[in-house]
């Protein structure tokens, strides 16, 4: 049969089904095969907050989206080009996310009475004309799976569990992905269970063959390898990258890593990940609450470890007082906030950027803390490493902001050489001669780090105001003012230690879009699109929120208009207006979802038109 192959630059596929349909696994395998081909990619899982929502229900839908291409990929994709659905609920939930004219591959066997009813369909959408705007492939995936395995004598339950491999095989055919990485994975994963290996292998191949031989599939797509910087790559999620960033920093600082933590969505994976590495100089402490999570980390830092704690918004609120203590004690500490929808319990599994002001300002008294934000899953590694560097060098707590979107999302990571990462080794004071707990480095204003166990340096620190240099308790009014300003100056000094900000696009023009955190990819794509259309628009992305880089004010002054898109009601914009007196305009959508590039593009058009 004649099949046409089309070359395309970029594709977004979403696999969606019931929580029990193995969609995360399917997506993960597709990702590995795609990385194998050499495409750039970004992925995003989306799963229900409920652990076991009823089968077939809308609440129980789990999905995995992957965006891959021959060019640089910065987001898991806005709308999908192809939607694979294992049941009607999955179709119902994600159809709105499919682009006009996109493909739907549906397991027709699951579009029966009960499942249709659970999804709220009155009639079968695969059989009426409601999907006329899409390319629909209704495939009897369950039956075809059963046929492929009928001579194997497996229980119907086990047979049913392999059907996701049929869908995977079919998409491998459609997008011309190699089956070998998955076949290898099956052999390793199910080693010793020959019947399961045989079943999964057969079903994967059956799916692939179905695409090859059936007449309904006439087109397959080819996505050429992307031009990525050379080196060894792996796929990594934001939370993994954060955990590894901490480990790399501790390694390069020659310190033990201590993580004090309390489970909270979507940050728990960082604790889980680090708890695996007992033999890497990592100690994890699952504390009784968020407060003990941070205070134990402060105790560990006091003892000479790299103390860290991780949490999400509600937990950051609970850690507030202890963060102030760390400011006063001037001890290194890395605080990771994987932001989620708020306020209160909010939307635990959804993404948001609404903790920015909490991170920058949310403490009693004048308690400045550096705040850095990661912009992508792999950037979580760099940002956490950078935060550790600053924490150790300036003897200060540092907050790292990530969010649910990049924490769970994954992308290829150019694996760094540990030995090529900067040396972060701190100097512990050992000489009692001239020692004073609050004596400072004249350059950085960081105080000395003297750890218990060092003879002759016995001293006391605490949350009461310190006398300059001696660290004794002091109620002196002028001393208090001096200490407040010194602590502030120390944080401001960090601007001398971080690179200048760079604008993408022209250094001046009609419009500058300023972003921070996980909106990076969407904003970057939108600005690129608009620049290609000839609009005078540039992009400034901020990793350093506090302190801001030295040249931000100058950059902002070179543009007629400034747009600040944020997944909150306008938080960075408050800081920019406050610091630089600029008439910036916010673009704020708080839906628990990342921005799409199209939304930003529309806003850019609107701003440029208005002039």
């Amino acid at each position: 049969m004649n099949k046409i192959t089309k070359n395309i630059d970029e594709v977004t596929i979403r696999f969606a089904g019931d929580s029990g349909d193995g969609m995360q696994l399917t997506g993960g395998q597709f990702t590995t095969a795609t990385a194998f081909v050499g495409n750039d990619l970004a992925t995003m899982p989306d799963y229900p907050a409920e652990i076991r929502a009823p089968a077939g229900s809308l609440a129980g839908v789990s999905s995995f989206q992957i965006n891959f291409g021959a060019t640089e990929i910065r987001t898991p994709g806005d709308k999908s080009d192809c939607l694979v659905v294992m049941n009607p609920a999955a179709l119902k939930v994600y159809l709105k996310n499919l682009r006009e004219g996109g493909s739907i591959i549906a397991n027709a066997d699951n579009f029966a009475d009960k499942n249709l009813r659970l999804a709220g369909y009155e009639s079968n959408p695969l059989q009426n004309d409601s999907l006329g705007r899409y390319q629909v492939y209704a495939v009897e995936i369950s039956k075809l799976t059963q046929n492929a395995l009928k001579d194997l004598n497996l229980s119907p339950k086990i047979v049913d569990r392999t059907k996701n491999f049929f869908a995977l095989g079919l998409t491998y055919w459609m997008y011309n992905r190699p089956m070998e990485p998955t076949l290898k994975w099956i052999r390793e994963k199910f080693a010793g269970k020959e019947d399961i290996i045989e079943a999964n292998t057969r079903v994967l191949k059956a799916g692939h063959a179905y695409g090859e031989t059936t007449e309904i599939f006439t087109v397959r797509f080819e996505v050429a390898p992307a031009q990525l910087p050379p080196g060894r790559y792996r796929s990594i999620t934001g939370n993994e990258a954060t955990a590894w960033g901490l480990m790399a920093a501790a390694k390069r600082a020659n310190l033990e890593l201590f993580l004090g933590s309390y489970p909270i969505t979507p940050a728990s994976e960082i604790l889980q990940e680090l708890s695996k590495y007992k033999n890497y100089g990592v100690k994890t402490f699952q504390a009784e609450d968020e407060i003990a999570g941070i205070t134990s980390a402060i105790g560990a830092s006091y003892g000479g470890a790299l103390g860290a704690t991780n949490t999400s918004g509600p937990g950051l609120a609970l850690k507030t007082e202890a963060m102030g203590l760390a400011v006063m004690l001037e001890l290194p500490l890395v605080i990771i906030d994987v932001q989620r929808g708020g306020p209160s319990t909010g939307l635990p599994t959804k993404t948001e950027q609404a903790d920015l002001l909490q991170a920058v300002y949310g403490r009693n008294g004048e308690a400045p803390i550096p705040v850095f934000a990661a912009c992508s899953p792999t950037d979580c590694f760099d940002t956490t490493f950078e935060a550790s560097r600053i924490a150790l060098k300036y003897m200060t707590p540092v907050i790292v902001l990530t969010d649910g979107y990049i924490a769970n999302g994954a992308e290829p990571w150019l694996i760094p050489k540990i030995s090529e990462l900067p040396d972060l080794s701190p100097t512990f004071v050992t000489n009692p001669e001239g020692f004073a707990p609050y004596k400072r480095d004249p350059q950085t204003l960081a105080r000395m780090w003297a750890i218990p166990g060092t003879p002759g340096l016995e001293h006391r620190i605490g949350g009461l105001e310190k006398e300059n240099i001696t660290g004794n308790i002091s109620y002196d009014p002028d001393n208090h003012h001096l200490m407040i300003t010194t602590r502030g100056e120390k944080i401001n000094n960090i601007t001398n230690d971080i690179p200048l900000a760079k604008v993408v696009g022209d250094e001046s023009g009609d419009l500058l879009v300023v972003s921070w955190g996980s909106t990076y990819g969407a904003v970057h794509n939108a600005v690129e699109t608009k620049r290609n259309e000839g609009l005078s628009v540039s992009h400034l992305h901020l990793k350093y929120i506090n302190p801001l880089q030295k040249n931000i004010g100058e950059i902002l002054s070179n543009f007629k208009q400034i747009l600040v898109p944020e997944i909150n009601l306008g938080q960075l914009i408050k800081i920019l207006r406050d610091k630089y007196l600029v008439d910036a305009v916010g673009f704020n959508l708080v839906r628990g979802l990342p921005f799409s590039a199209v939304e930003i593009e529309e806003k850019i058009d609107e701003m440029i038109k208005r002039g």
Partner: protein
């Protein structure tokens, strides 16, 4: 080999002025601690005092060791992180009934449960002193304080029972007015492997003066306090003429002179008996029963930090010392040329 210098009490006194109210029971606790420390055989630089907030929590400033004055209630959590990171240190927590039983109650019970090697000294004065006289979680029911002008309606915690319920492995009580006894108990706590909890009856002469009079003053003490000694029967009274026996599971006071009971009928203290420990702790607050002081319970159990270290050793033996570079390159990777 480094030998531990010979210390005197002075070596443990810092250069800071002590700022408790004159007559405060805290002075005695500080004095006994400073007296005992030279005998513990621990190098001074290995000692850390961690505290929260309250009168008691000023303690670290006055000890010439490493000291950490934390935030309200969190001393046990700070100290836990320190002890886990640095098992070589001797980590002490100075806390009060408000700091340790109220705002820090959660950290306290979890430290006990984990058996982290912390020595927790609870300065119990049954009142909030530093905030000037509100009731605390150990204040008595009916107690009139600044925030309970019509009498306290809360039921008080019994710190010993709380610690036992939280599975502490060392639970003791001592009195600010009995220096010798306190020294003995502090030494025992220091020697204990794991969480050691010491409740110290401490008089707040400004906001709750005389709260423990019955058990600390010469005239009444002997008839109202039973001093626990391991392996010995529970005898008390000015003339050593009274004892405690168990009637079923209920302790009762019996006379040793009326011919009905002899020493052989009395409870013999056994520090390792957890059931007995609950009974002894429960004697507090029951009218007509003397207050037990001394080591109520002391058993050896692996400590949190020991268990963590053996897990680290086990994993390191099985998987060798981790190589980060190898970890990063493990699993599914691919080369871009």
């Amino acid at each position: 080999m480094n030998t531990i210098p010979i210390y005197t009490t002075k070596d443990f006194q810092s250069d800071q002025d002590v700022r408790w109210c004159p007559g405060c029971g805290d002075y005695s606790i500080l004095a006994q601690t400073q007296r005992v420390f030279p005998e513990l055989g621990i190098p001074k630089e290995k000692v850390v005092f961690v505290s929260g907030i309250g009168c008691s929590s000023r303690f670290p400033y006055y000890m010439n060791t490493y000291g950490f004055h934390g935030i309200h209630g969190r001393a046990a959590a700070i100290a836990s992180g320190l002890k886990i990171a640095r098992p070589d240190l001797s980590v002490w927590v100075a806390t009060g009934d408000g700091d340790g039983m109220s705002i820090g109650g959660n950290h306290f019970i979890h430290a006990c449960r984990r058996n982290i090697g912390l020595k927790i000294l609870l300065f119990n004065n049954q009142i909030y002193g530093l905030t000037k006289g509100q009731f605390s979680p150990t204040s008595l029911q009916g107690q009139v304080t600044k925030s309970t002008p019509f009498g306290n309606i809360d039921h008080p915690f019994n710190p010993l029972s709380l610690a036992l319920g939280a599975q502490a492995t060392f639970v003791a009580r001592t009195l600010d007015r009995d220096p010798k006894h306190m020294q003995t108990v502090i030494k025992r706590a220091a020697a204990h492997n794991g969480t050691a909890f010491v409740e110290i009856y401490q008089n707040c002469n400004v906001f709750n003066d005389g709260a423990f009079e019955l058990w600390t003053e010469k005239d009444s003490k002997d008839d109202n306090v039973v001093v626990l000694e391991n392996g010995k029967p529970l005898i008390f009274g000015k003339n050593k003429d009274k004892g405690i026996r168990l009637n079923g599971f209920t302790p009762e006071v019996v006379s040793l002179t009326d011919g009905k009971y002899t020493t052989g009928d009395l409870i013999v203290h056994n520090e390792k008996d957890s059931m007995l420990a609950f009974i002894l702790a429960g004697m507090s607050g029951i009218p007509n029963l003397p207050r037990p002081v001394g080591v109520v319970y002391a058993v050896e159990k692996p400590t949190y930090e020991q268990l963590m270290q053996s897990q680290i050793d086990e994993v390191a033996t099985k998987k060798r010392t981790g190589d980060l570079e190898k970890l990063f390159n493990r699993g599914e990777t691919w080369e871009v040329k």
